[in-house]
């Protein structure tokens, strides 16, 4: 377990990794990766009960995480590498031909820590439900976590899964919504108003936890601990995690263009100047 301070230090390095990976690859999704860097760091190091040295596909005796919004591979890979799932130096192969670090997560290339391909949006909650049911059937009392973009909630399959998990009391599942109000074509309000998420989930028989600032490490830790404490009570738990796309770099914050656009080689140093190299670059 890391202290809040230590996690913040890691998250800052993760943000550097995200920017350096995407600029080197000349492609990728830095915006949502920066926004979720604090949550992903907290999950990998403190929240998830898992063992990077003994990764197994079945995840028996460990917590499982499925990142449904697979496009945020920069933050997924950086936090996994920093946690010890694979060598940090491998981050430099991101999106390159022959890499295990595919543009979107894949199992085909054998990267430890990935159990399911994702990126075709809307599918990760269903997978998480299946894994949660599997854990119940096999008597494993560990938890299943999923992460979804807020724009992803526009996918119909999400609501099939939300309805199922509530109706069938999948209470070993914690789904987190990255609530940054941004998607490719604009704000969620402009593209498709998500409405009252709390009311939506509650009406589907879920327990709702809200984290007001998902870029505040202490709030993330407290909120996820609270979510965990609410499992096993007959209802799935959803965490509405308010984040800011591009968080950590002032000229990227809240700008939806950085969903899928990377910094130029010229702009990268300006961004990195705002993020201290805390643990050594890859």
């Amino acid at each position: 377990m890391k202290t809040t301070q230590e996690l913040q230090t890691i998250a800052t390095q993760v943000r550097r990794d995200i920017l350096r990976m995407t600029t080197a690859a000349k492609s990728g999704h830095p915006g949502g990766s920066l926004g979720t860097a604090d949550w992903m760091t907290a999950m990998q190091f403190n929240i998830l009960d898992h063992d990077p040295d003994h990764f197994t596909m079945d995840g028996n005796g460990q917590d499982m995480l499925f990142v449904s919004q697979g496009h945020i591979t920069p933050v997924i890979y950086s936090t996994m590498a920093r946690r010890g799932f694979f060598p940090i130096s491998e981050l430099k192969t991101f999106r390159q031909f022959g890499t295990r670090l595919q543009g979107h997560p894949s199992t085909e290339h054998g990267l430890p820590g990935i159990r399911m391909a994702s990126g075709s949006l809307g599918q990760g909650m269903s997978v998480g439900i299946g894994a949660a049911l599997g854990k119940k059937m096999t008597g494993d009392n560990h938890l299943v976590y999923t992460l979804h973009g807020d724009g992803e909630l526009q996918e119909g399959q999400i609501w099939e899964a939300v309805m199922f998990a509530g109706a069938k009391h999948v209470d070993n599942l914690i789904a987190t919504i990255d609530y940054n109000h941004q998607q490719i074509d604009g704000t969620t309000m402009q593209v498709m108003d998500l409405g009252d998420l709390r009311a939506k989930f509650e009406s589907f028989m879920w327990t709702v936890v809200v984290i007001d600032n998902g870029n505040d490490m202490q709030q993330v830790l407290d909120g996820m601990a609270r979510a965990k404490s609410l499992t096993g009570q007959g209802k799935p738990v959803v965490v509405i995690l308010t984040t800011e796309m591009g968080y950590g770099v002032d000229f990227m914050q809240g700008i939806n263009k950085y969903h899928g656009s990377v910094l130029s080689a010229d702009d990268l140093p300006k961004a990195l100047a705002q993020l201290e190299e805390t643990l050594g670059d890859f």
Partner: protein, 318 residues
């Protein structure tokens, strides 16, 4: 020629249902999921015997496929049951991403496949499912020919590690194969040896091909009949060996021309042994309402249609 008797008229989906119960007894990790059609797809027997291993998913096929993928991670062997159209075409991307690309051990049981579904009409009569499923890397595609083979194929699917599509019809069809014959995935089944032409058939049309062979025999034409119950992986060696011998081929399937058994065989022959060939299949159109018999007859999927194509291709022999 080898003569086959109709022992009974049974539904292939029921063969799957019996096979599922049997594999459920053998392997406690086998689980079943259905989307509000457990009776229609004959999973009710399994659900009754193993209530804790049956997951009712409601009318939500996409979610069901994802749940199955998640269950497979935990060592379960999920069988997903639904109407063939709604567990293939409707959820093609889900199958692609979380079953095939992620290579998960999930079995898709598509009941009510093909035009012999009958009265429900074209919305439910998928004739593209073989094309869709065989296009996917890692997928195995099984099209058994009768009730007994559907049961055996279900047992084989459970033993095979990886995603499998099992295509099953709704209607009662002739049951003519032995009831205890093991099913070998990827191994074509020689039903009748012949020398003048080869009839490659799958699913309900295997029986029609056997009838066609008897009709051809009366004309002095010796037809080899091979049941291609596994569309993928295709038994290319068996197909090429037979075509090399007979030099004329007719493929017979309850599917569209595009992408089904015929195209599979054509691809194998084009690459290894170019041979005159004709298709008995449905040509780029949707079905309609009618009885199963009316559908097979009016869409030209009968023994007589196979005979006609056989005459045509024999004329093309060099």
């Amino acid at each position: 020629m080898t003569h086959y008797e109709i022992k009974s008229q049974k539904e292939l989906r029921s063969g799957m249902g019996e096979g599922l119960i049997e594999t459920g007894r053998r392997n406690p990790d086998v689980v079943a999921l259905s989307a509000d059609v457990k009776g229609s797809v004959k999973m009710d027997g399994f659900a009754k015997e193993f209530p804790d291993r049956f997951i009712q998913c409601g009318i939500a096929e996409a979610n069901m496929v994802g749940i199955a993928a998640g269950l497979s991670l935990c060592g379960k062997v999920p069988f997903v049951g639904g109407f063939a159209e709604f567990v293939t075409g409707r959820v093609y991307d889900q199958i692609r991403q979380v079953l095939c690309y992620s290579n998960k051990n999930v079995k898709i049981c598509g009941s009510h496949a093909g035009i012999s579904l009958g009265e429900d009409g074209a919305t439910h009569q998928t004739m593209e499912d073989i094309a869709l499923m065989r296009a996917l890397p890692n997928m195995t595609v099984l099209v058994p020919a009768d009730f007994n083979q559907a049961k055996a194929a279900t047992l084989a699917a459970a033993e095979h590690v990886g995603p499998v599509y099992l295509r099953l019809g709704r209607s009662k069809m002739p049951c003519f194969l032995p009831d205890n014959e093991p099913f070998t995935i990827g191994k074509a089944q020689l039903l009748n040896e012949g020398s003048d032409i080869t009839l490659f058939a799958c699913g309900h049309l295997v029986w029609e091909a056997l009838q066609a062979a008897e009709m051809l025999e009366k004309e002095g034409i010796s037809a080899e009949v091979i049941n291609i119950h596994t569309i993928k992986p295709l038994d290319v060696d068996a197909i090429v060996a037979s075509a090399r011998k007979t030099r004329a081929v007719v493929t017979c399937e309850e599917h569209l021309f595009n992408g089904g058994l015929g195209d599979s065989v054509a691809q194998a022959l084009a690459l290894h042994c170019p041979t005159p060939m004709e298709y008995v299949a449905v040509d780029d159109r949707f079905g309609e309402s009618g009885t199963p018999d009316e559908m097979l007859t009016n869409y030209h999927l009968r023994a007589a249609d196979i005979v006609e194509k056989a005459h045509k291709v024999i004329k093309r022999k060099a």
